[in-house]
Symmetry: C2
């Protein structure tokens, strides 16, 4: 009797991570190398709790809708395994469950921390001579994993950011008065997603007029100088700013606000709100800050077809790797050319990836530190290409039933 | 030689107001009753400045793309005409420009203040026996105009709110821990748009679990009680709240935050942020507030086909009214049935509409004050139905060239 496999998801959600899950499930099913395909609920914690969904008999209709559903069908966790040398018991527990369930392969879809889990489980497996295949599938809207050209999930978030900023720009163009709109975009340490705002530009809309990434120091005085010039020239100015921008001493550009109401609670206001105060102070014109917030990572209706396809194929490739006897690997994407856009799926030892972050190369940021270069645009363009048809029910974007994540309470 | 006409837009943008403009331009062109169709840039102020675009020879391709382009192609203004008795000179100026340009009809697309302008211009025309036709076309995402079943622009905003809240709900369902997400929605005095969040619900996602409108008093203690119950029952709770909620004494639910950084600026933090502080204080669980901000009014990629069709037909109907010799009228929509959804276009004296607001009937709010009734759902459903194909260029939502609103600066 052949073995079974487990797939799980971890870290923050994206519009594409379920496409990777769909790829794993479809390939595991079609290759017929596993008896059962188990989905662990809430990542590695779901394995420890033996909380599984049986995905063995899912049909193509399910797989297709799964691929288009945002967030995480299996739920997530933010959980770092202890170092083996400090505490081996949890590893023993996980592998006894693998043993008991006759698991031949474990597929983990996630970002940096998830690849750390893959690396640690792989190291433990090697240390006990266990031949279970352990493969990581990358995902993050931050695009900050090394050893891969880009990460599944990034392209869809990039498409959402660029399209939304173009729409916000149209909103600002209507009044005959000067205005500044500051758009705060996710990315604490890497500016890839903020850089993607450049794709909002076309021949008649130059927004965002200023783009600030965390990879270079942010200078408030220089910002005000640049902004005044842009307002003079373009009247309505859009500023795209990463939540993670810092000054030359490495301090985040943020302000602590003490709420004055009776529930007063010290609040850290983000870069966008902080710059809004600053612009009000220094320019005294109409200014607004918009925190795009979670929609940039879960707007399934704005997914990039390129991204969803790559995510699906990455999941599928993980199963190919396991089938070929590989382990301790992360699926990676290698770009062959920009135009036409071509790439190949490959793999890289996960130990080389875990706990490292890929920043935007400073050479892709303009010398004035408030824009990105043509190389960045050429890199970004293919990743947002192609639209995914959204399913609607009664006019509202419709996705797969996820009541297994919620029904334990009421319902 | 026959007369010319002027069309203009005013007030806040919506994803559908350009569809009304497209309807006016298409009908004025096809009926052949006007020599020239002029678009005034920046509303009535554009008339005073004689700042016009000639829209006489636009083809169907332009009209179709115009109808799908969000915000306002002609630009907007927020300008209230003085009372005739206080200052008649501005009226004399406007009508001398009408005279000089041989204008037979003036079409004004906008909300409450715009209908006030239509009413005042109509009254002046009557007072001097001028037979120019002055017709208002309603538009507002707030849906707060009286004498019409609903307003063009509302359905698209409602669709965006409901779809976005469903996607945010998926984002919150992934972690195995209790959380509260508070979504702040536009609507200072009328709760229609916040009520539309109810359409996010389906058989497996009950978000938003709590809905608070400005039409009934908001009680913080009761809110915490209701919220605790919902968290206990559903773990991840989504709260939809109108920016305009007030306590029983009529005070807005908001907090003044003094920024502590050196650019310190007193900021009024909205209902969402204020309730976020409150929930942190009282429940101490993971809480986030999301201010949907301007995207809810300018997300052209999420427009309702029903809304865009009605907006287009409303613009067209305005020309029909002028053709039939009507004046001092606002186009209105009268619903004949909910299912199947049927309606007819009609008109109402604009003097009866101006400066009044239509609130949500309290009978459509549940007695517990944290949800809406089946009548509200039946009212809302048809308005979000149908999708509008979005044009994409290089993967980014693409719209009509509006450089006439920006090019005066640089470019």
């Amino acid at each position: 009797m052949s073995k079974n496999c487990i797939v799980a998801q971890s870290g923050g959600p994206t519009a594409a991570i379920n496409a990777s899950l769909a790829g794993v499930v479809a390939a595991a099913r079609d290759f017929g190398i596993y008896d059962k395909i188990y989905g662990a609920i809430h990542g590695i914690q779901g394995v420890l709790k033996k909380h599984f969904l049986d995905l063995s008999d899912k049909d193509d209709a399910f797989i297709q809708k799964l691929a288009r559903t945002p967030a995480m069908y299996l739920g997530s966790c933010r959980f770092k395994l202890p170092d083996m040398k400090d505490d081996v018991s949890m590893y023993e527990e996980i592998f006894s469950i693998f043993e008991e369930m006759n698991i031949g392969a474990f597929f983990y879809i996630g970002g940096n921390d998830s690849m750390d889990t893959v690396a640690k489980l792989s190291a433990y497996a090697a240390s006990i001579g266990n031949d279970i295949r352990i493969i990581g599938v990358p995902k993050t809207i931050d695009n900050d994993l090394i050893m891969t050209d880009h990460t599944p999930g990034f392209g869809s978030a990039a498409k959402y950011i660029a399209s939304s900023i173009r729409e916000i720009a149209y909103d600002t163009y209507i009044y005959d008065l000067e205005s500044v709109n500051i758009i705060e975009i996710m990315g604490r340490d890497a500016g890839w997603l903020t850089a993607a705002s450049v794709l909002a530009r076309n021949e008649f809309s130059l927004a965002p007029h200023l783009i600030y990434l965390p990879e270079v120091a942010f200078d408030k005085e220089q910002f005000i100088t640049d902004l005044k010039e842009m307002v003079k020239k373009y009247k309505n100015v859009i500023v795209a700013v990463s939540e993670g921008i810092r000054d030359k001493d490495g301090n985040y550009i943020s302000a602590t606000n003490a709420a004055a109401d009776k529930f007063g609670h010290a609040q850290l206001s983000g870069a966008g709100k902080t710059l809004e105060y600053l612009v009000k102070e220094k320019l005294g014109i109409k200014v607004r800050s918009v925190e795009v917030n979670v929609l940039q990572r879960c707007a399934g209706h704005m997914a990039s077809m390129t991204d969803l396809t790559e995510s699906f194929l990455s999941g599928k490739h993980a199963v190919v790797l396991a089938k070929n006897g590989e382990s301790a690997q992360m699926v990676s994407l290698h770009r062959l050319s920009n135009a036409p856009y071509t790439y190949e799926l490959s793999n890289t030892p996960v130990s080389e990836v875990a706990n490292q972050a890929k920043e935007v190369p400073v050479s892709w940021i303009t010398p004035d530190h408030h824009d990105v270069t043509a190389e960045m645009i050429a890199y970004l363009k293919p990743l947002v290409a192609g639209e995914v048809p959204t399913d609607y029910a009664d006019g509202i974007a419709d996705y797969l039933d996820v009541s297994h994540l919620t029904k334990v309470y009421g319902k």
